[in-house]
Amino acid sequence: MQDFRIAEGGLIDRSRPVPFTFDGKSLEAYEGDTLASALLANGIRLVGRSFKYHRPRGILSAGPEEPNALVELREGAAREPNTRATIAEIFPGLAARSQNRFPSLTFDLLAITGLLSPIFAAGFYYKTFMWPAAFWERVYEPLIRRAAGLGRASGLPDPDSYEKQTAFADILIIGGGPAGLAAALEAANTGASVVLAEQDFALGGRLLSDRRIINGQPASVWLADTEAKLRAAENLRILTRTSITGIYDGGTYAGIERVSDHLPSSHSQPRQKLWRIVAPRAVLATGAIERPLVFGGNDLPGVMLAGAVRTYLNRFAVKPGSTAVVFANNDDGAGTIADLTAAGIKVAALIDSRPETPPALRALAAAHTIPVFTNATIRQANGGIALKSVSLGGSAAGTKIACDLLAMSGGWNPAVHLASHHGGKPVWNEAIAAFIPGPMPPGLHAAGAATGQFSLGDALATGHAACRSAAGLEAAPPPNFSTGDESAAMTALWQIADSTGKSFVDFQNDVTASDIALAAREGFTAVEHLKRYTTLGMATDQGKTSNVTGLALMASLTNRTIAQTGTTVFRPPYTPTAIGALAGPHRGQHYRPTRRTPAHGWAEQHGAIFVEAGEWLRASHFPQPHETGLQQSVDREVRAVRQSAGFCDVTTLGKIDVQGPDSAAFLDFIYANAISTIAPGRVRYAVMLRDDGFVFDDGTVARLAKDHFLLTTTTANAARVLRHMDTCHQIYRPDLDVCIEPVTDQWAQFALAGPQARLVLEKLAGAATDVSNAALPFMATIEAKLCGSIPARLFRISFSGELAYELAVPASYGAALATALLEAGAIPYGLEALNVMRLEKGHPVGAELNGQTTAADLGLGKMLSKKKDFIGRALAQRPALCAPDRQALVGLRPRSAGATLQAGAHLIPAGAAATAANDQGHITSAAYSATLESWIALALLEGGTTRIGQIFRAVNPLQNTETEVEIVSSIFHDPDGRALHV
């Protein structure tokens, strides 16, 4: 079946055949294959259709830089598009499908776009499809999207799990090729703790692909030996299938490990793992990426990078074709003729673009009777859906050679991307016609081909040296690494002058040399403009095989040097990364932390419906079996509180303990109203401003003793208030001797409210604690014992406006207290009822404390002390914050009974048009009041209480509805507060 498999050699395991499918066709490969080598072994070279023009595409490379061979893997929710076949490891049952073709790969109707290519040149959507204007969004854009594009996402939630792990090391080695391995060997010697990360599933880099000799033996022997040594070393962690995708601050590196992508099923392992590797020093041994050459038809299936051809021949024992031509501007690429003939493939020609071909190469060609064309080029590759022949140019113009495989090499580009993640631009090296790393992130030392030193000997030596330099050691001679003769001699070739047909620079985004010329003609000559105008380098391969060529072409078109033209910015991630890997376990419900009160389980058992209030889950209401809707439950709970007694879990409000000789002075500084005048055993409502004079938060301050306070914050602001207090203490008032400690989680706290509240409390307090009006008057606090033995603190404060208490017990008693309250006859109520009742009393909450309101706006202006300085005092006096026409708090009632009110509705004076110019305020909170049997609302309105009695239109422009409202006092129920003092 595998007609193109070489009988012997390679690193695949012929004793383990692996069945897989491609576009439904059953095929076989061997363990150790990638999907790309497996397809080539089966003679399949047409693998996809290009993005814009739907041109037939094959396999260009053998690595992560692959732009063409993109397939869909897996089914259903796990389906992943745009998977590089050159990276996907073959496993039994792998099902791959080609992309972007209809109805089939061989017969793709949309290839017609290729004929229309003059319309679809770079930037076409800025110049065409403009009329009629409305058609762009509804017709053209959807059509263009459907015609172009690569794979389809599944559209379903990612079913796999992902993990994160942190590793610390003295040295991180990025890349497990010869340079990285030499560095790792030396690191093991120094006793440093090391992480070695290699993106392939095997260590070795180009040692796996090229037939090399180290110390007189095949490199595979050295490789096996080295791997054994490294695996036996202490403190050396080898991560294969792990790409380092970014270099961040503080010597932190991100790596993505493909944990189970290569397995038929993940077996509850995570699919991928995000590594955070913290290493003060690192060695960049990322190697180099081969450059394609630019000529007509260079995108045909059968045209491959020369290094990749050697990889398929030597590592995978696969013949990528039967009759080959080699086209190169350098010795390394040209040397592929030796690998081809060794594998039994006929080499029809070696085309060397350089003025002279070195004698060693000539001799090698002669030995195998391979014709050599020097100072020649290929100006066009010919074929329909596969390469059939090449037409030569230069000194060999007019010659046509039949072949089905073209191994091309334009030289090598060091993989400098990571080195530039801190903004240091790479530097052009004219001698090797390539960019090498410029200023690098701190602690990074580069080695091997990544530095533009392409020989194996250099890789080994510089790997060793980089490690020593990273470890802070003096340079020392490396171990013996004799590698024989090597030459990387190269003469740059950017343009092939007599090229005909589409010459591709960026394969994945279908960007041709003429697109670049078009960009130059139209003035998009800056390299960042070139990128965005032509989309060169913007595909999923991030221009790995196209960026340098593209800017070299632009340089020559604009008479600049490549150094002058420069590169675009390199940003992480270096390789496409699943969002799931970045999220790790923090997805769905675990996207953010969830907090539960001590009585959460009790509330669940009693049928509570929960809502999110910041990080907390709070009971919104407790529906009874016969109730059919939210409103019924809320009305019942409100009536229960106003008529008998109810209890509500208020544990979530921030609680902060403040102690110290200067605690009173400190709190006087933090709060707008006086705190130091609170007597021990008393509680006061208090307001906190921001530095800029706007209201920050409100809550209560209880003075437990002369130098001991316990304050509460709103649920939403608890963390912010704590941070604010720490800032004020440490930065503004370090002179004050005070200690601030958050204790929210220590206490379970319940509000107990209603005319019967004292009766309920007496049942719980029993004989142990006197809770009479005299012993516990309004705004007082005492210690108590509840239910015989539960230590508690009681606060006589009210948010509902009824006779009310708050009961605080240590959290472990929370559920027990709730049980006791229920047994004592109080009705549980939730946030909805809480909100209705505070609305009835005109208490501002977050909707009113919205960061844009001052104390005066909220009717709390008198709380600002005139006797002390406090945060926000000065800026609260700014004229604009004191203007009488500011939007201030008022109440609203609908004019017609039964009409509803909506938070967010805007207030327009009756009779005026509903325009922004007439907009005088908006409704901040609205609810149906069971107590008043009407909808009520709070609003911020220009002129505030001076408008009481006036009629307004409450307009909702989103739903085109409105209600007529009357401005009233914000205190709807019991304005004298009689119920409080009962």
Partner: protein
Amino acid sequence: MSEPVSIIPVAPRSVAGIGAFRDRERFLAALQSELGIDIPTTPRFVQAGGVTLSCLAPGRYLASADRGADLPARFAKCLAGLAALTDQSDLWEIFSLSGATIRETLARLVPIDLSPAKFRIGDLALTRAGHLDVRLWRVADQSYELAVARSYAADLRAALPAGFSAHH
């Protein structure tokens, strides 16, 4: 597959939060005199007479002991006027973590350097487990304690990475 690391809630304890006022010297002297041991001033913990005293930050300590010890009352007496005392006996949910692969497994949960030489027995760290603030003590070679504020405990349990076997 290697043995999972066990994570078991410890029995409730008496816990006191201690925040020193300005006179640190007198504070440390009083604490030393009460416990009879040198008081750490870096993130480490010591044990004396059934009390574990952890230094969280300059002047900030956490003391824990068996539930019946009523530490807040005890320290309120000997540190009167020298420190702020808060009862935190119910604030923390504390777990005991142990197992042969404890460090490799913990590395999936916390972002700090767990290598034995860097995080020694007797050290503690204020760090994060995933996105939750936690405190982590190294109690023995392969044994740690982890404390999280009570309201987050269910969240911590629900999102443990692979390698932990939770017991309730």
